[in-house]
Point group: C2
Chain length 370, copies 2
């Protein structure tokens, strides 16, 4: 028998592939294709960043125009995807609906080229995510507006109201942060499925399946529920103490990579403050989150993660809490597609080994003698 | 920064977990929970083997009765799953339909206990797989017969005819062979998704996504198409030579684990012979497969795998070729569920590392200056 290498559970610290798409590091840095996340967050559009993730470089004006009109051409959902969404039970988990709709979409598009399929999937995510929520909750279907961008349309269709430019801009910043994050569980799932040469819909459906798990997606929703439960900044420290003493999980903290600071959390924290100021709103939610973050750092030296500060931004933008993970999916599909392509460029089927720990040499005994 | 271990692409030779469910080895052995595959193939029922895979031991009479009636109670599909299947395009790939139906099923069953969910999913696969094929191809819905077993019902609903006992028994043997096979790509996908604490439907939907890939599922269908194309035993050697000289892939050969013999292929080969003899049918298909197998072994020392001999058995049983991968899925769901449970018993989120090979230190340049 050939040599078997044992590696830590969860593949922690195990490099399973090379990637040129993004790099997160324990020093609190995150780059997309070489660009620091702060630079992109402050200056770029979602469409520019999506192009960067997919194509490997920032687009020229001509490339961006082509990319944008290509996405727009693929915005509408096919009729049968609406029928699938309508067939979902009214009390469905939103990620079950999104995953099923993504899966069903794939059956429509096998005549497209692989590149068109990818653009179609990325482009359809706003209408898909928004209408998965709307239809299952008994609201009317909404269609994207043709001359508005990805972020504006997603916010528009989810809330049912035309957002103002500032809100759409703030939301777009958060979508940029969710775009891509190297080999998290969903992206790794996408690469494993891609390695079988399954199509991009199959691979991203599997990514959406992974995102349903509370240890991966779902943390932004849980963080918001927790902030609402705490209710005010003054109660944050006591809530934390009680949680720690009872062994209750505090949502939105800790990250596999970032041990001191999640750069996306810090950018979102600033955005939350800016957003509340712009609205001349009470900054209670900001002070509450800040108080909990500080108490957690003092008690456990665990930093807040992206979900912890994206959640109150989404909440301030009147987004329904149950749509936070689908929003994550809408943005992350772009990262998944980039990893899908990267996997195929130098593919080897994922087929790991395992250590067998079960019994051996048992013999079948007829049932009447057991 | 902590140490990063680099491992071979595709995790070849890398043990990512322990397992007590099955062990395949390069010497051509395969055990399920300690029982050799030949023993189970010759003596056990599908239901006994499914119980063994799921629960870790062969059932007593009482356990088997409970298990069987539990499966029967969960046989029917909910109405909305039929609606989802009906919403799929008529030219859908069968695995797209199966994956979408499995995904949609999950939204119905969140009120069941995790154990009931697992039984439900396993039990529903015959009706789900058969009706995904039937509905999309414009045939009427068929329901399982209550007092018949998993294999009989799957064969019955796929062919639309009540199979005789011998055919159902032969088909059941093949389903046993497809039940489980340690960490292949789909099962590994299931474990990665399980590690996020997503539910069993999400995890198995992702498994079905991986099974769509031609490097994983699909080989049985491709092998059958190839055998039909060759047409007669006399042409096998020439077909092989031409394929090898043109670099055309010969389907149904080679396996990551089995380098000399795939025990499942050999059992299936015997079954194909027995099945044709029982029917007093021409054994041309057997002789053709045998001739190709021998030519391939002489030329390349690559053994036939399970798919190569399961395909002509399915063909002889009048099963539509496009349903071979869904049949694989119907059986393998049991293995996926067992791995789902094993993953959760000692869970650690899969979060591998990667080696970043992209650029660094780039700065955003406004679009008009690019």
């Amino acid at each position: 028998m050939s040599e078997i290498t044992r590696v830590p559970a969860g593949l922690y610290g195990v490099a399973v592939s090379e990637t040129g798409i993004s790099r997160s590091a324990s020093d609190g840095s995150l780059v997309f294709r070489g660009y620091g996340i702060k630079d992109l967050f402050e200056k770029a559009s979602f469409e520019e960043c999506a192009f960067l993730i997919l194509e490997g470089h920032l687009p020229t004006k001509g490339e961006l125009d082509d990319f944008t009109s290509n996405l727009r051409a693929h915005w509408p959902l096919p009729t049968n995807v609406y029928q699938i969404i309508k067939a979902m039970p009214r009390d469905s988990h939103p990620m079950d609906v999104v995953r099923t709709a993504m899966s069903g979409l794939g059956a429509n598009e096998h005549s497209l080229s692989p590149k068109e399929q990818q653009y179609s999937l990325v482009a359809k995510m706003p209408a898909l995510v928004a209408n998965c929520y709307r239809i299952v909750r008994g609201m009317e279907v909404m269609e994207p507006e043709e001359d508005m961008n990805f972020a504006w349309n997603l916010l528009y269709m989810l809330t049912g109201k035309r957002p103002d430019a500032f809100d759409a801009w703030a939301f777009e910043r958060e979508l940029i942060l969710y775009l891509e994050h190297d080999l998290n569980a969903s992206t790794f799932t996408v690469r494993v499925v891609a390695s079988t040469l399954a199509d991009v819909y199959a691979a991203c459906t599997a990514g959406a399946a992974a995102l349903k798990g509370p240890l991966h997606g779902g943390a932004n929703e849980a963080a918001m529920q927790m902030l609402l439960e705490i209710g005010s900044p003054e109660k944050a420290a006591a809530y934390l103490q009680e949680s720690l003493s009872k062994g209750r999980k505090v949502m939105g903290f800790g990250h596999r990579v970032y041990k001191k600071v999640d750069p996306r959390a810090q950018l979102s924290k600033g955005m939350l403050k800016t957003l509340l100021e712009h609205r001349h709103a009470d900054d209670k939610l900001y002070r509450l989150a800040d108080a909990l973050e500080q108490a957690m750092w003092q008690a456990k030296r665990i930093p807040a993660n992206l979900d912890f500060y994206a959640a109150p931004i989404f909440y301030t933008l009147s987004l329904p809490i149950e749509t936070y993970t689908p929003i994550f999916a809408a943005s992350r599909v772009t990262g998944w597609v980039a990893h899908y392509n990267e996997q195929l460029a130098e593919n080897k089927l994922f087929r790991p080994d395992s250590i067998y720990t079960g019994p051996n040499d048992l013999s079948y005994v007829p049932i009447e003698k057991r």
